[in-house]
Amino acid sequence: MESAWVPLTLTLKVAGWATALNLVFGVAIGFLLARKRFPGRDLLDALLTLPMVMPPTVLGYYLLVLLGRHGPIGGWLRDSFGINLIFTWQGAVIAATIVTFPLVFKSARAAFEAVDPQFEQAARVLRISEGAVFFRVTLPLAWRGILAGLLLAFARASGEFGATLMVAGSIPGKTQTLSVAVYEAVQAGQDSIANFLVLVTSVTCIAVLLAAGRLAPGRVAGQP
């Protein structure tokens, strides 16, 4: 069953990158939506939540059309930098990032909104710069909620199937993630490989969910 480790490590790589990208963008957007009032805020929130409710195939189709060789973004990337995203693991990362983005920015927004502004004001009274207030006060206070969102995003990204298959295809060792490998094994009637892959996937997901549960907001450190 050694062949099962290749899709596993690839899955972890794709999910890891997607989570890292979401750490940056999801937290930034979550903070923006929690603290700033601007026209179109609700619309922006709704638009950014779309990937969570839209079928992955619809999302995959959007990405294929946009990032494809003849697509506006894909064509530009190819002509200017010679970059091609379709059928690459980077393409899988983009698909996974977009699918899981709502999980991160929603959790981040809720976590930032739950931070008591008095702590930040106290820090400002001590003449601490705005950047330091964010990194030394706000972010540590919101961290648990954000981390729970990131873990959920990681779990969801490792299970991404529809959009990934459409954008990245299924190239063994390059873009064939666990979920795609399971699909192919079942289609080809290779039940023993499928069973093993399914087991690995289930164990990974349970571990991540347990970790996310422990970090869920509403629980105070020290409580079981």
């Binding site: 294929l64 494809g68 060789r69 003849h70 379709i86 059928f87 298959l165 295809g169 299924s170 190239i171 192919e184 079942v186 289609q187 080809a188 009637g189 290779q190």
Partner: protein, 247 residues
């Protein structure tokens, strides 16, 4: 409340009770031709409603093996049907070949490169080649065996973009996401404005499509009728229009 739920539930199931539905699991390459055959067959058999389930032949076999309620199975190769027969999933004595097809290499319509022989695929401008998954897609199996025989498989496999069925390979080429692809002549004929056929690839054995009633079917009589129908003159005429050859 309970009565309402019961009524809703009955409504949910009623579709299956009223019309005699015949579910045909057929190779993806048959999609367009079979859809055109449906009204002809339904006109000949009032009260019967045809339902199609298209996919890679290998995937369809797995569905039937796991108990999917298909009545007729039409595969794009003999090997998949042989497996179905060996597992007792189809009526072996009623199995018939009903069309033939050819393997071709296609390139995007606006491509500047056109391979004129198999070896051309080794050139650097063919970076990505769409091939059906040999494990479950017959066209991929045909492709692999041809390339293996020509001694080209080790060089071409790294360029392979695997497709879940032949129509996905066709779509990849039509979108120019790959530089070339292996499909059937009948698939290439569906998108003449987006793909062009570069060359016909000779295969060792003719590509023959078998069809057979599924052993577990509850509509065996209608399934038999459909198998006879695809071999009848009017159906063969429609299949020929889509480029399928005589068996």
């Amino acid at each position: 409340m309970l009565r309402l739920l019961g009524a809703l539930f009955a409504l949910l199931l009623s579709g299956q009770v009223l019309a005699a539905e015949l579910t045909v699991s057929a190779a993806a390459s048959l999609t367009n031709a079979f859809r055109e055959l449906a009204p002809l067959f339904e006109a000949q058999n009032p009260g019967v409603k045809l339902q199609f389930n298209f996919g890679a032949s290998g995937a369809l076999l797995q569905q039937i093996a796991k108990g999917a309620p298909a009545d007729v199975f039409a595969s794009a190769d003999q090997e998949t049907m042989d497996q179905a027969q060996a597992q007792g999933l189809v009526k072996a004595d009623e199995r018939r070949n009903f069309v033939s097809n050819t393997l071709v290499i296609i390139v995007p319509a606006d491509s500047g490169n056109t391979p004129t022989r198999l070896n051309d695929l080794l050139q650097a401008h063919y970076q990505r080649i769409a091939i059906g998954l040999p494990a479950s897609v017959p066209v991929g199996r045909y492709t692999k065996s041809v390339l293996e025989k020509a001694g080209l498989w080790p060089a071409i496999e790294p360029k392979m973009i695997s497709a879940q069925n032949v129509r996905q390979a066709l779509d990849y080429v039509a979108r120019a996401e790959v530089d070339a692809g292996f499909v059937y002549a009948t698939d290439a004929a569906i998108m003449p404005d987006r793909v062009k056929t570069a060359l016909t690839v000779p295969t060792d054995f003719p590509i023959l499509y078998p069809i057979a009633p599924v052993a577990a079917s509850a509509n065996h009589a209608v399934a038999q009728k459909f198998v006879a129908f695809v071999n009848s003159r009017p159906a063969q005429d429609v299949l020929a229009q889509y480029g399928f050859g005589k068996p």
